[in-house]
Structures are given as C-alpha cells and as structure tokens.
C-alpha cells in the first residue's frame, strides 16, 4: 500500500489497552440498561 513519505514519528501509549478496550465495550453492549429506581417522595413538614 502506498501511503507516501514519512512526515513525523511519535510515540502513543494509550491509557487503556485498545485490545482490552474492545472486549470491555462489547461486554457493556451485552448488559441490559439499568432499571430506573423509584425514589420515595419527599414529605412536606406539617405546620
């Protein structure tokens, strides 16, 4: 594949390994969305 001449070189060290990132993303996609939790209604203090 012809991609031309080099213009610059750099070093990339990902914070999370892209190999494990792929597995994590797939696992997240498989998990069902969390159910909404119904919070107790706030009671107004009686006068």
């Amino acid at each position: 594949m012809k991609i031309g001449r080099p213009t610059r070189t750099y070093r990339i060290e990902p914070i999370t390994d892209p190999t494990s990132r792929a597995a994590k993303r797939k696992a997240e996609a498989r998990q069902p969305a969390p159910k909404a939790v119904k919070l107790p209604q706030a009671q107004t203090p009686r006068a």
């Binding site: 213009t7 990339i12 990902p14 993303r25």
Partner: protein, 182 residues
C-alpha cells in the same frame, strides 16, 4: 526514567484484511504479507516486524525495530478514500482471492505518520465490515462475520461487493479525526 508519550489515545484509521481459514475458523490476515506472522489473533495486538528483504551477509545482524522511518515496515492504515483508490479489483484478485473485509484499526506504540497514512508498531481492529457478496452466499458471509466476532469488536455484514461497501460504511460510522490533536 522513560520519556513521556506524545499521545495517550491510539490513531484510528482504515485498512483492509484478507480472511483466511485457521483451525476451522475465519481469521484476519494481511493482504500483502501473507505469512503466518501477519495473522491477526483475537484479543492479542499485532506487533510489527520488519519483513523487508536483506542480503545474506546481514542475516546475522538483528533487524531494526518496526516501524522505522527509513524503511517501509510497520502495520499500515490509511483514510477510506486512499484505501478505495488502492484496492482495485485486479489487485484484490492477484492478492489471493476476493475474501477481503474492511475495517478500522487502532494504531499505537511508535507510529510513523506519512503523507497518506500511518505505519505503526502495534495494532488491533476497532470495527469490521464484511461485504456480503465477497463470498459465495450471504449465509457464508454471515458465518465469516460470526467467526470475526471473536475479535471482540463490532462486526457488521454490509450488502453488496467490496466496492459497494466503500459507499455504505461511511454512513454507518461517525467520521474519524484522522490525526491526533497537536
């Protein structure tokens, strides 16, 4: 003390793979370097090696680390437009068949940026697209897509031939920022 990296996010760019049968399953392989060392294993990043020809009197010397800016070694990726120009039907036919998949790849480690793409030391697929008509039947293409799910990345079957996939896939993904922020 080690030098700080220049970036902490991989470069994500496009490339094409040839699919080959290994132990009864479809696996990704390089189109241009069909050696066992250019086979991409699921859940393991591919490490570049310089496979350039060397004269016999240099065989005893160790090879340089890949990629080297003065060599042509490294794991290649480019833009979708550049890939489309390069993957002509005759080239695909001469590279050992039509079983080619498209996809995006994460590149990291030492990365040599070039005029129209990158050469990297380490790489792993980010997303794969299987053109349905690159195989004898759509069922066979679906079976290939299922095997490629072992890479733990999104795999999508796209209708049509490889050439058609180039018009379909840009609509299925968010545009890439092809160069890391300066």
């Amino acid at each position: 003390v080690t030098a700080a990296p220049d970036y902490v996010e991989p470069v994500v760019a496009w490339r094409a793979w040839k699919t080959v049968r290994r132990n009864g399953e479809w696996r990704l392989s390089s189109i241009f370097a069909p050696t066992p060392r250019a086979l991409w294993s699921p859940r393991v990043c591919l490490t570049a090696e310089c496979l350039a020809w060397r004269p016999p009197w240099e065989w005893l010397r160790p090879r340089h680390e890949a990629p080297d800016p003065t060599c042509e070694c490294g794991i290649y990726a480019t833009s979708l437009d550049a890939l489309y120009e390069f993957l002509t039907p005759s080239l695909i036919a001469t590279s050992g068949g039509r079983h080619v998949v498209l996809g995006r790849v994460s590149l990291w480690g030492t990365v040599v940026e070039c005029d129209r793409g990158w050469r990297a030391a380490l790489a792993y697929p980010e997303r794969l697209f299987v053109p349905a008509l690159a195989w004898r039947t759509v069922d066979q293409a679906a079976s290939v897509a299922r095997d490629l799910e072992r890479y733990d990345v999104p795999v999508q079957l796209v209708s049509g031939r490889l050439e058609d996939a180039f018009t379909v896939v840009p609509q299925l993904v968010r545009p890439l920022v092809l160069r890391p922020a300066a």
